[in-house]
Amino acid sequence: MRERSAASGSGMFLTELILAILIFAVASAICLRIFVAAHQISSESSRLNHAVSSAQDCAECFKASGGDLQDTAALLGGALAGGGSAVEVRFDSDWRILPESEPSFFYTASIERLPEKNGCIDANVTVADANGTVIFAIPVSALPGQGALL
């Protein structure tokens, strides 16, 4: 009688254990997906914050140099591109500025100068990833010969 009740207790314990493991597996799979989604959202936010900060750096350097792209490139540590009508700055995966000679990059910030009108130099600052997907873009205007560094 005692053996039978012990065997029944072990069976119940085993059934409970299996059920608990099953429920835990389902719940942890759902929670894991939530953690992954949260990580992706957080990475996107961090990427956007860095892009905004880089775009602001570009815009302020452009304004400070009075719209001169060569001075802007020198200030930012970037290089002239597009036949001298743009400045490109390349970043690695941690948003550190890469030297011109580095062929592989993760993000770029470019300042494309528009034709001058009404004595005002306009440009578009665009921050994109390596695939060319735009993360953040702002317009910027400068007055020639009136930058803070001039």
Partner: protein
């Protein structure tokens, strides 16, 4: 009696499992809400910066128009400009919208065909409304 105290009783596993799943769910929800708040803040910051630089570009275009005209235009690029006399020089003032509640306020001293920046700052465009809905003691004795 000895047998009962030796092993883990029926129900203990369920209790541990419920506690673990509950902890896991709570932490997952907290993580998700924190990252959502972070994204919301990043989007708001990006929106403000975009608005600021759009306003800044407009203000620069107005400044270029004023400096280029050599006179006192009443408006430029759709922005109204007001003037006042400060000493020997005239001072131009205008505001460019940055967001629904903020403007970029600019004051320029017009001197010998140049527009020198006196003020270039963001200000609240909305009227300040004090919240006096909460009854607080004003320092006087009760009657």
């Amino acid at each position: 009696m000895n047998q009962r105290s030796r092993g883990t009783g029926v129900g203990t596993v369920s209790l541990i499992m419920i506690f673990t799943v509950l902890c896991l769910t709570v932490f997952a929800m907290l993580t998700l809400s924190a990252s959502n708040a972070e994204k919301l803040l990043a989007d708001k910051t990006a929106s403000f910066v975009k608005g600021y630089y759009e306003g800044d570009a407009l203000a620069t275009a107005v400044q270029a128009s004023i400096a280029g005209s050599g006179g006192f235009p009443e408006s430029a690029c759709g922005i109204d400009i007001s003037y006042e006399q400060e000493g020997a020089a005239a001072v131009a003032s205008y505001s460019c919208p940055v967001s629904d509640v903020q403007d970029l306020r600019v004051r320029l001293r017009l001197d010998k065909g140049k527009a020198v920046v006196l003020e270039w700052k963001t200000t609240y465009s909305q009227e300040w409304e004090t919240d006096d809905s909460i009854m607080v003691w004003d320092g006087e004795d009760f009657e």
